[in-house]
Symmetry: C2
Subunit: 150 residues, 2 copies
């Protein structure tokens, strides 16, 4: 593998797929003693979601908990449109889906990961930035998410 | 659930089960651009490992990478003695196994979690402290590890 393709070694999110985000967010809220920040990903027109190279109307309800100086725990409840969220929730059930890194230069980083046999799964836009998921399971045993904020 | 039973909301480790720790540690070392710290858990006499209420000779090879101001990524390659590591690696394959929190008062915290229907799976000693794994999958969708340092 290329050395340090992302130019960072800071994990900023742990993403956990769930069936019922209200119920699991309530459990985490009690367990951690903190309140989550809820977000719903945008419409196709806003998010321009692509999953496995094709446009998808998939949307996802998210709940973020701050669990460290630069770390969030993210719960994700996807809808039933095609996405890496729905695929993995159906295939593997609830549990950790990905770890995330904040990067600069999403296009260049995407090319670098793909050159290192870490394929792009899904990408999309959010207000103020964009994300992409990559299949790191063969080499790193996890799905990776890259986040780029403008 | 009792509110904030651990008295912390800082996640300090992400634990990932692997079959070949040398190979996966090399991939992470290149990917993150940093070197791991390797550790092997103690013998039964040292670690006093208990899994599902019974003594176990299980040992585990570990590799720690610093991935944030207070966060480590931990790779775990267990041996074939009974343990939550071996059970989950055989049942679910490679991937994220647990998230960890550092606590004070392991005995009290263990009682509190069990009272909240988060059962103890495994515990043991390490030089300078002790760990315990709990089955948080029903409510929190992950296995939890508590760490107490003397």
């Amino acid at each position: 593998m290329d050395r340090k393709p992302l130019e960072t070694n800071t994990v900023t999110q742990i993403g956990i797929l769930v069936h019922d985000i209200e119920k699991t967010a309530k459990a985490y809220s009690e367990f951690l003693g903190i309140e989550p920040r809820f977000v719903t990903t945008g419409t196709y027109e806003e998010a321009e979601t692509e999953y496995m190279g094709s446009p998808s109307k998939a949307r996802c309800r998210l709940a973020f908990f701050t669990v460290g100086p630069s770390l969030e725990l993210e719960l994700l409840q996807p809808d039933h449109e095609p996405s890496t969220w729905r695929h993995d929730l159906d295939k593997y059930g609830e549990g950790v889906h990905h770890i995330a890194f904040v990067v600069n230069g999403m296009k260049e980083k995407t090319m670098l990961l793909q050159r290192n046999n870490i394929p792009l799964l899904q990408k999309g836009e959010y207000p103020g930035g964009r994300y992409a998921y990559f299949d790191g399971t063969e080499q790193l045993k996890v799905v990776l998410e890259l986040l780029e904020n403008d």
